[in-house]
Amino acid sequence: MIDRDPLLDRVIAELKQPIEVDPAARKRLLDATRASPPRSLPGAVAAALWRRPALVALAAAAGIVLAVLAGPGADEEGGERWTTPVRFALAAPAVRGVALVGDFNDWDPKATPLEPSGSGDEWAVTVRLRPGRHAYAFVVDGTRWVPDPTAPRAPDDGFGVPSSVILIPERL
């Protein structure tokens, strides 16, 4: 058996003594708590959800509704990581303007105008596309629809205006 150091025994005995507390300390503590700034709204909401688990489900359902209301294009700004930059170009001398339309810009002729090159013979624009099959076309001078002469052709689209196809592979 090992003899214990008497100093250690005295320290242990001292630590076992009850601590005398100032009788006014409890009141001061409560007063300080009441005087502290109110909890922020998110914090209060989080605390309420923590106390009521059913509200968590309700909040999740509300999130679904908001996501649906935001629409499928809501993450387009932040989804750059999953897109591929693609340069579209058309040789079109002596025209006033060229726009790119396709299923990546809701076929909006105002959404993606092409910029003329220095000589003005070529018009080009670079857009970021998600993986998948995309149909597109050029609109020259706001009225004339032109398929991309170097791209695979899409079958007649049902509207009598030809389109082209580009396939963006999945990124690993």
């Binding site: 059913a54 679904i64 629409g71 591929t84 076929w107 993986p131 099959r133 007649d156 509207f159 592979p169």
Partner: protein, 221 residues
């Protein structure tokens, strides 16, 4: 409290259900009747587990091209039918790109049985590239069955993006110089897959290179 919360939760989810069938992109682009019809078709697609975005985009494409409401609804309805048929031919695991490319191939005149043959020939490899090339050949005048045979040869040879691009460029060049589209497709497919006919150089001649126009940057073409 629990009862109130459960009730509110159910009400919220019920309210959200019809919202799933809405798409704000159609607001202002389609008249109310056309919009309702398109959304109903999109709901039908969703219920069948088919992608809805191609249908929405078809409607927006029609509006942008100046089609009237009846024509837009007819085009969207026809596309939905082709998506169903494409999935039946390509299998339930087909990707959205494969389904839309398959639907386009069906529109071009490819028989569903040909799509099934392509799927089997691919041994599970992605098929979208082959399906896009297939539709392109038909658009260039190659008869659908002949185009399917040529693309099936490339698929069996596990061809990649470069081979499909070469096929398109060479067939296009041959047709421009007077070759029959069907013969051009078969000969070029044989050349690319390695079964070179006598007298044909290994590179098959220089096809037209994309220059001055076209799309580039990681996709196909």
């Amino acid at each position: 409290m629990m009862r109130w919360t459960a009730g509110a939760l159910c009400a919220l989810l019920l309210a959200a259900t019809p919202l799933l069938g809405q798409d704000r992109r159609l607001d202002g682009r389609l008249d109310p009747t056309t919009r309702r019809a398109v959304l109903a078709l999109a709901d039908s697609a969703r219920a069948a587990g088919l992608p809805t975005e191609p249908l929405i985009q078809k409607a927006l494409e029609g509006e942008s091209k100046g089609a009237d409401g009846a024509r837009i609804v007819a085009a969207v309805h026809a596309l939905l039918g082709r998506l169903h048929a494409a999935r039946a031919a390509l299998g339930p695991g087909a990707s959205e790109a494969e389904l839309t490319a398959g639907a386009a191939a069906l529109y071009a005149g490819i028989a569903p049985a040909r799509l099934e043959r392509l799927r089997k020939a691919s041994h599970g490899a992605p098929l979208a590239l082959a399906l896009v090339a297939l539709s392109d050949l038909v658009q260039r005048g190659v008869p659908p069955d002949t185009a399917a045979v040529a693309i099936e040869a490339l698929t069996r040879a596990r061809s990649g993006e470069a081979e499909y691009r070469m096929l398109r460029q060479l067939v296009d060049q041959d047709i421009r110089t007077g070759a029959a589209p069907a013969a051009a497709a078969l000969e070029r497919a044989r050349l690319i897959t390695g079964a070179r006919p006598p007298g044909v150089p290994p590179d098959g001649g220089s096809g037209p290179q994309p220059s001055g126009s076209g799309a580039s940057g990681g996709g196909w073409p």
